[in-house]
Symmetry: C2
């Protein structure tokens, strides 16, 4: 079963926002056996939206549309759909009651454009959006399903999880798509590919292998499609284990996890604790660690010490070390690491110091030194 995603909004095309919705939708659709054939981002322009709708329905059975549903003049998705499907707008009383309720709750007066949020094309199924004023609209035309949702991520995610994905599951007899990802560290993709070439060549046609490189890391992703989830899982696991055995020394995790999550998992298994002492990374490493549920079992906390003062008072770096070798030196970063272990009472620590730029470069220590 194929779906396409159409995201509407000039802000995406001029790069003012990054489209994170589509990736999230792609993942969730995959889990229920729907493949995304194409993602198309178009401008807030009626002809352009119509063109994208025409093309998408030639390739896919389900067309998911996000964005362009706000109350302001630049948002034209609803009007365009009304014309496209030849369904004049009607006032939906349930939506109006919901919008009024929202405004009462936030104690704001309603104005005319807010009331218009309750107008919907006559012929679509209206799905209430608990997190906002723009309703979700479900169209079934020419055997295809079109769903229009707001582009605000938490509104879209709620609607997808609670309404759209369950309805799609009910509507179709979907195949299963199973992925298995292996995280490797420290070997280039072409070398990995050569090492596992015979395994890759032996894959049956319903199983694909992809290489996803990132600085210092390569993810190997096996994807299988078929009617029986359990047999796909067993089958993919056989090939995954062959690859893991072959690439053993580079494998950091047998799962699609971030490197820091792999570290947290190993440390948790060994009941070890971790702290951080960051300078140029400014809390980014803490942030990466604490994004993961259950990180508090391993990660006690850390310090972001930008100034000399804080490096001394919070991390116990010696004043002489800073004046003699500078903040960005092996000596300082070692004392930061030891300071974190001592002050934060953890088994391990991660310390980083560097010059992130664009200013602050020194002779012998250019911007980018870490």
């Amino acid at each position: 079963m194929l779906a396409e995603i159409i995201t509407i909004g000039d802000e995406i095309l001029i790069g003012q926002i990054v489209d994170t919705n589509s990736a999230w939708m792609g993942r969730e659709l995959n889990k229920i056996g729907i493949s995304v054939k194409q993602i198309t981002s178009v401008s807030d322009n009626a002809d352009h939206i119509v063109n994208a709708l025409n093309e998408a329905q030639q390739r896919a059975d389900i067309i998911l549309i996000t964005g362009g549903l706000g109350p302001t003049k630049d948002d034209i998705t609803k009007l365009t759909l009304s014309t496209y499907f030849n369904m004049p707008l009607r006032r939906d009383e349930e939506t109006l009651a919901h919008v009024e309720e929202l405004f009462r709750k936030f104690n704001r007066p309603m104005i005319d454009v807010n009331i218009k949020q309750a107008d919907v094309p006559d012929g679509c199924t209206v799905i209430q959006n608990k997190n906002g004023t723009a309703p979700c609209m479900w169209f079934e035309v020419n055997g295809k399903i079109f769903v229009s949702m707001p582009g605000v991520p938490f509104e879209m995610m709620y609607l997808m999880e609670e309404e759209i994905l369950p309805r799609l599951k009910n509507n179709f007899d979907l195949p299963y798509i199973v992925h298995k990802t292996i995280l490797t560290v420290g070997q280039g993709e072409s070398f990995l590919a050569k090492e596992i070439e015979d395994i890759e060549d032996s894959l049956p046609s319903h199983i694909k292998l992809a290489y996803l490189p990132k600085l210092g890391q390569v993810r190997l992703r096996l994807s299988a499609i078929g009617p029986n989830e359990q047999s796909l899982k067993s089958e993919i696991e056989i090939y995954a284990q062959q690859i893991i055995e072959r690439a053993q020394k580079y494998v950091a995790a047998e799962d699609d996890v971030a490197l820091e999550k792999a570290i947290l998992d190993v440390m948790k298994g060994n009941q070890l604790t971790l702290s951080t002492a960051e300078s140029c990374t400014g809390g980014y490493i803490s942030h990466l660690l604490t994004q993961h549920a259950g990180s508090s079992a391993v990660f006690a906390g850390g310090a972001v010490a930008y100034s000399y003062d804080l490096k001394e008072s919070v991390l116990g770096v010696k004043h002489e070390t800073l004046t003699e070798f500078g903040a960005v030196s092996e000596q300082t970063v070692k004392e930061m690491a030891v300071g974190a272990i001592t002050h934060f009472k953890t088994d391990y620590s991660i310390a980083v110091s560097g010059i992130a730029g664009p200013d602050g470069g020194l002779p012998g220590k250019p911007v980018g030194t870490v």
Copy 2:
């Protein structure tokens, strides 16, 4: 002048990676007066790539293609372009020398697939990729420009900045596109729209206004297009000032900056310093602050204190406060804030405590409490 971006790779469609390249490219193209008409993400499938190329060249003059140029079997962009343009592959000696040089530098043996990176469609202009082995390929066919680049962000960015954008500027007599963004806080988009309705209605046709809402914030973006950059700037400034005056009490910045950057700027202007004391946000606020160049003039540093121990030792939260009111309480977060000001010797501090979930919710303090 219109461009389209085609990103190639199953990893985008299944949501394994978020396409951040397109937003960056959209911004950079805009700066030189090229508008992005559409962004299309397609799978590693020859027919699908061909279809996207056919459609894109009907709408745009410049087609920028990223991804699918790796040495592994799943990457088929180069072969597809070779067939599409009817240009058989030839070995490019300059590229081969560059690839060999890269492997020498990293002291790695070369294998056959690495050598194949030097094969290019006969008829394209080869642009060397200093940051990787996949060359950039520039095609001029039927009066249209097609550029194929690697999808790895730092390789693509380097090529765009150093090679593609300058060449596009030279090739075309481009109009200017000028944006002006006003960051507002604390007022909903429909109310802002109503307050400035007459200003919006008075805009000439070459100036557009868009509303970009985000939790608690709305960005107002004016965009103007025309042949004279200076007069566009003056003109857009007049309308911007009208809006700023009208929406004065909600305006946080007269520029397209993040809210935390606006805070840093105001504090820098007043020579004030800031520290953070984070629990559930795990360093994210520090990270947001330190992303901005020059943040060290204001931001001294902070603590990520997950455990009770660290809240006491690093931030001086009283043991009794934690046991009586709990870590997620107004009392604790106030002591965290005061502790940060005292221990880190700053004028202001930001303290956050909460339960991020998915576990750890308590009666009266559900997950999501901040």
